[in-house]
Amino acid sequence: MLTALLVFLPLLVSVVVFLSPRKLAPGIALAGSLAALAIAALMINAFDPALGRQFSFEQAWLPDFGISLKMGVDGFSLLMVILTTVLTPLILASTFNQARSSGFFGLILFMESALLGVFVAQDAFLYYLFWEMALIPVYFLVLIWGNDNNKVVTYKFFVYTLAGSLFMLAGILLLYFNNPARTFDIDQLYTLQLSGNQQSLIFILMFVAFAIKLPLFPFHTWQASTYTVAPTAATMLLSGIMLKMAVYSIVRWIFPIVPLGAWVWGDVVLGMSIIGVLYGGWIAVRQDNIKTMLAYSSFSHVGLIVAGLFCFTEEGIQGAMFQSFAHGINVVGLFFIAEILFQRLQTHDLKLMGGLRVSAPVLASFFLILMFGSIGLPMTNGFIGEFMLLRALAGYKLWLGVLAGATVIIGAVYMLRAFQKSMLGGSEKETFTLSDLTLREKIILFPLAAVVIVTGIYPQLILQITGPASAKLGELFNVYLNYSSLN
């Protein structure tokens, strides 16, 4: 019941927000997201990682088609639920100083509901429904509140991801029809015995959707432009949470159902991911628009996450889950910094900034912490994720780990460059007088910075949530790993 409440409460509140006057809307939306956070907190409190799926909820929906409202929370789900419920109130609060209509806040809550739905759905049809539902609010957010050029960009983003989703739908339908029980129930799908060819086909169909959503090279070209023109709240939702839908989906809907398909295509995915790590980072080095820079940086980081997953080991999967969480925190913080700068300077152009640290030292300090989290300095969350992922890759093939490891150099180059261009330097730039953080901005940035450091020093807080689930997946692939090492 807790699970259903978690998903539908934000949805109900979003309807209320749509209908409420502009003055009340932000408050109601925030209250709704905090309520979701409270529910997540109750879950964390009662959750036992060793027990697998908990807080199950099942309600017949369309029995003729084998569709039910089946939901539940295991380690993977819970981590994503925490990420979503922690970030949403912060993202909402990040927009409070902007005069926007009730719809804006309603859409964000609607989005939260859809995201949470994706993370707890245990029925393939329901999952697909939430997956598509999550696209709707982003579409409107970018279209209505985006910057210049947003029509073309939104259109491309929408068509591109929708096209991907259609492939996924085909994959899900294939699963359904290859299934004697004719059901979308995940527990039935987990018991399916599919042939190698069937698995391969289904893997490709579903993975296309994920490759676009993540995105992976070469499916990434919608990302930089969308992140750049979208209102920053939407960019935060996209980069912080939405792309984690794809990471999560891989461990939920691909690995356990079509392991052989994933295994067969593993090296191709690794290739795409690692190209993305280097290529994305390399492009970020010369970006002058801070949001575009962050978009390419996100593209690079996500490549490493996926590479870790496709090492098919417990270490790689744990690293990927941890880094998904860490990346969500860091990237939302960094985009918020970009937004703070934009609100004060009306620009995202690093060339027009400089010397901001003089007048905004607190802002610079938060920027510094989030940046070093993103660079992966030890004692920050980024290090743990990056180290585990690179370690997993090097364990699979040493040279791959070292090649992808170049990200520790490139990441430092683009991040330090952006920091220097915006924050450092003298008063020769016009922009060096701006007001430092307001209380609201500090309240948003403080928890993010705290998570960066706390989970960097004591990462077990996060790791223990997904540990047993990752171990189980790792075992699943041990068969293949042992088999291939014999040959």
Partner: protein, 633 residues
């Protein structure tokens, strides 16, 4: 928790608390409180380190402090664990001892600076990470310290962040260190792949059965050494260190001379059990160290900036330390770290005192004749200069002599080359000394009228360090003079196997000493003849007539070469990837596919007509209705 563990924790946490308070609340604290807090916290750390050292003898077993499991996944398991042994003991004394003195010095040096409190916060933070580095019980914790000191180095090089050149220097240091770090990481992954642990003790146990010259381990140790090359500024990753002089001078003394830059040596000494199994790697270390020692020394001959001379000198001296490691004499490498820490910190702080007196003038062409005006700085600086030049019985003589002896045992030609490096050291150091303190003042009259000796907070550390530079060498008196006189080898002997130069008789050893000391004295005499009267004044690099001198003054144009070879292509490729490959090719294909689909597909043509909104609205409403229906009924 035992008393030793509590002391070790105190040692770690005292500077961290100082840093925490200063970095969070520093803006609202008075300057005098901030500097007192920072200095006290490091001094507290020093007392803890000293008490620990008092309990430690050569026979004392190492102890381990395991705080918690840091991260685990599958076969990977890393503890947040610290280890205290004889090597750690000595490093801790150097770090916290010299650290305390430099904090005290900074209270005077940075007094007028608007970022005073922030400076002390960073400095405390640095000491904390440096302690982590030398106490970490496994590679991961050590790496945390390793990167942490890199962060503080970045923050402190760019401390005066309004200056764009300084910011570039800070960034260069961080990125160049990261290049080395990738090597270090590769080494760690190799060790993990084979031994499944990063714990130093467990690794030592695991490699016991490995044969000397093992190819896998050789590659792994070369990777580890690449990390050391970055941190300890060896060829080809050394160019960040001279630029790092952009930081305030106490930073140069503490981080870029006495402690952080010796982390690479620490890494090798700590893992002597790996490196001693890989003679090929040791040879590489020897040649890289030798090349760096000579290369940097030649540049040092023609620099005019007082801090740049000292910076190249540091690079060169680090090269000497690696030479020692390369011959397999790990304790000797540490010995030079130890003595160098005192006299190089002394020289930097002395230079800082001069710069302070001359209102931030760093160019030696505008100094001269300062010995009367800055008497304490003068005397202490002279002691430092004699110590680094290797004149007995000051500290540098003992450690450098030991290195030369090992090198002679290996190959007399190498000994000759290293001796050449050591002669250049004596020359450029005395050149610096004469240009600054002898002759007559060459700056402007206004500055001259304000020249004054530094306050006691600055001169006291100079005096203490000068005293240490006088006597520090006595911890390693050569066995030639008296049996069992080498305390250092005895103290470290149970931890690290002590080597002795093979096949060198006592008479040879004494002859070598005589040759090198005589040659050094000749160099000092030459330096005195050229620069001692204050008549020969160096010119700016652009005006240099002699092409060789010009090349040296321009540092072989290595930075320009690196820019041309690496930086410019790296940036150009980034532009090419972004503007051409991504925007034109990859996105072009995507758009073409999209257009193709648009013209052929009826469904998508519907979207093309701009009815996406309608479609979505319908879908949304539909979903909501269906869900609501099922929930309510």
């Amino acid at each position: 928790m035992s008393s030793s563990e509590i002391l070790l924790l105190t040692c770690l946490l005292a500077p961290l608390s100082g840093a925490g308070i200063l970095l969070i609340a520093g803006r609202s604290l008075p300057k005098s409180f901030a500097s007192a807090l920072a200095t006290t916290s490091v001094f507290l750390s020093f007392i803890a380190a000293f008490l620990l050292f008092r309990q430690t003898g050569a026979e004392t077993a190492a102890f381990k402090l395991n705080l918690f499991s840091w991260f685990t996944a599958g076969k990977l398991s890393v503890d947040m664990a610290f280890r205290y042994d004889q090597l750690t003991a000595l490093f801790l004394l150097v770090i916290t001892g010299i650290g305390s003195l430099i904090h005290l010095y900074s209270a005077g040096y940075m007094h007028e600076d608007e970022g005073h409190n922030r400076f002390f916060g960073y400095l405390n933070f640095f000491v904390f990470f440096m302690i982590i580095l030398v106490t970490g019980a496994n590679f991961a914790v050590m790496f945390a310290g390793w990167e942490g000191v890199g962060l503080c180095s970045y923050l402190l090089i760019g401390f005066w962040y309004k200056n764009s050149d300084y910011n570039l220097a800070a960034r260069k240091a961080f990125v160049m260190n990261r290049i080395g770090d990738l090597g270090l990481l590769a080494g760690l992954f190799m060790l993990l792949n084979r031994y499944n642990t990063l714990d130093f003790e467990a690794l030592q146990e695991a490699v016991k059965a490995v044969k000397s010259g093992d190819a896998y381990l050789t590659t792994a140790t070369v990777c580890l050494f690449i990390g050391a090359m970055g941190k300890s500024a060896q060829l080809p990753l050394f160019t960040w260190l001279p630029d790092a002089m952009a930081g305030p001078t106490p930073v140069s003394a503490l981080i870029h001379a006495a402690t952080m830059v010796t982390a690479g040596i620490y890494l090798v000494v700590r893992n002597h059990f790996l490196f001693s199994l890989t003679p090929a790697t040791l040879d590489l270390i020897l040649y890289v160290g030798l090349a760096t020692a000579l290369f940097a020394a030649t540049i040092g001959l023609r620099q005019n900036d007082i801090k740049k001379v000292l910076a190249y000198s540091t690079v060169s001296q680090l090269g000497f330390m690696f030479i020692a490691l390369g011959t397999g004499a790990f304790t000797t490498g540490f010995f030079h770290v130890f003595t160098h820490a005192f006299f190089k910190a002394l020289l930097f702080l002395g230079a800082g005192s001069v710069i302070h007196a001359l209102h931030h003038e760093q160019d030696m062409r505008f100094m001269g004749g300062l010995k009367k005006k800055l008497p304490i700085t003068w005397i202490t600086f002279l002691i430092g200069t004699i110590a680094i030049s290797g004149i007995p019985p000051l500290a540098g003589f003992f450690s450098k002599d030991e290195i030369l002896a090992f090198l002679y045992a290996k190959n007399p030609i190498l000994w000759g080359l290293a001796l050449l490096g050591s002669l250049m050291t004596a020359f450029y150091m005395f050149r610096l000394y004469f240009l600054v303190f002898h002759g007559s003042y060459r700056g402007d009259a206004h500055t001259e009228s304000h020249i004054h000796e530094s306050p006691i907070s600055m001169t006291l550390p100079l005096m203490v360090l000068a005293a240490c530079s006088l006597i520090a060498g006595f911890i390693g008196i050569p066995e030639v003079f008296a049996a069992h006189s080498h305390w250092l080898n005895h103290f470290l002997g149970n931890l690290i196997p002590v080597q002795h130069p093979e096949g060198i008789s006592h008479s040879t050893e004494i002859t070598l000493m005589g040759v090198s000391v005589t040659a050094v004295l000749v160099m000092v005499a030459i330096a005195f003849r050229v620069y001692g009267q204050g008549k020969v004044v160096p010119v700016a690099p652009e005006e240099e007539k002699n092409p060789v001198f010009k090349l040296l003054a321009q540092k072989y144009r290595i930075d320009e070469f690196y820019n041309f070879l690496f930086v410019a292509p790296f940036n150009a490729i980034s532009q090419f990837f972004g503007k051409i490959v991504d925007n034109q090719i990859v996105d072009g294909i995507v758009n073409a596919m999209g257009n193709l689909a648009m013209t052929t597909s009826g469904l998508l043509r519907l979207l093309h007509n701009g009815r996406v909104g309608t479609y979505l609205l319908a879908m949304t409403l539909g979903v909501i209705l269906v869900l609501a229906y099922n929930l309510i009924f």
